[in-house]
């Protein structure tokens, strides 16, 4: 499941998403969609986490600073079917016995179960790379939180527009 020309593929998909956003805006579709399209490609900072997400972040970080770096959270800008949304989490952090990422947490802000998954890793994996598919209830921020064996906490955020509720 690898694509020989990954950057080009991603650039193409991104341009498709932007074109779709333009079409929606131009055709005078529902106000809600037009309002939503203003988020493309998304504000730089996620909105303030809701109470549940704030609690999860506090529990994961134990009060340590959560810094936004070293995490590549790759998701589509638009998810047409919230039942199946692809996620790829990667990091440039090393995976050695001395210094490695030991946990990857996936948080979807407005899902019923916001702390969607935890991936506990070891240096034997050689690299931080996780690819899976998730459900999303509605348009929201998605957060990938990485914890290293030295106790640092790194984060990557992305906003995904969901057009079909995948959670019921």
């Amino acid at each position: 499941m690898s694509f020989p020309n990954e950057p080009a593929r991603r650039a193409f998909l991104r341009s498709c998403a932007l074109a779709a956003a333009g079409l929606v805006a131009a055709s005078g579709a529902s106000e809600r969609l037009v309002a939503a399209s203003r988020f493309w490609p998304g504000p730089e900072d996620p909105e303030v986490p809701n109470e549940e997400v704030a609690r999860i972040l506090q529990q994961l970080s134990g009060g340590r600073p959560i810094r936004r770096a070293h995490v590549d959270l790759d998701m589509p800008a638009v998810a047409e079917d919230g039942r199946v949304v692809p996620v790829i989490i990667e990091s440039d952090l090393p995976m050695t016995a001395q210094y490695h990422v030991k946990g990857v947490h996936l948080i979807v802000d407005h899902n019923p179960d916001a702390h969607l998954a935890a991936f506990h890793l070891t240096p034997a994996l050689g690299k931080v790379f996780i690819s899976t598919r998730i459900k999303m209830k509605r348009t929201t921020w998605v957060r990938a939180i990485l914890e290293t064996n030295r106790g640092e906490v790194w984060a990557g955020y992305t906003r995904v527009l969901v057009t079909l509720n995948g959670c019921g």
Binding site: L116, A117, F119, L121, A124, G126, S131, T132
Partner: protein, 115 residues
Amino acid sequence: MWMMTQHIGEARIKVPDRIRRGDLITVNSIVSHPMDTGFFRDAEGDPIPAYFIKQVVVTYGGEEVARFEWTSGISRDPVVSFTLKAEREAPLTMVWSDNKGATFKQSINISFVPS
């Protein structure tokens, strides 16, 4: 498509055909499971209880190399891919456990081609 599965718990693991010692390989996996959230109702209006894979344990040559904790937010027929440093010829085993206590196991042998 190699990933098509039919019965609950039927699982596949795929690794590259030609692996040399020291390669960083990508492991692809799928297990067939409904991953019901518990939020839906069936045609008769009765709630469908939550039924999902909650844990995946990955071992390589008997050593645990990864452990995933999931909720029903993972999509139906869960796929997960990850990398592995192919350091030795040994079986790679994955065990999926669901919230009803069932476990599903699949293994694949990591063996090297001459470099």
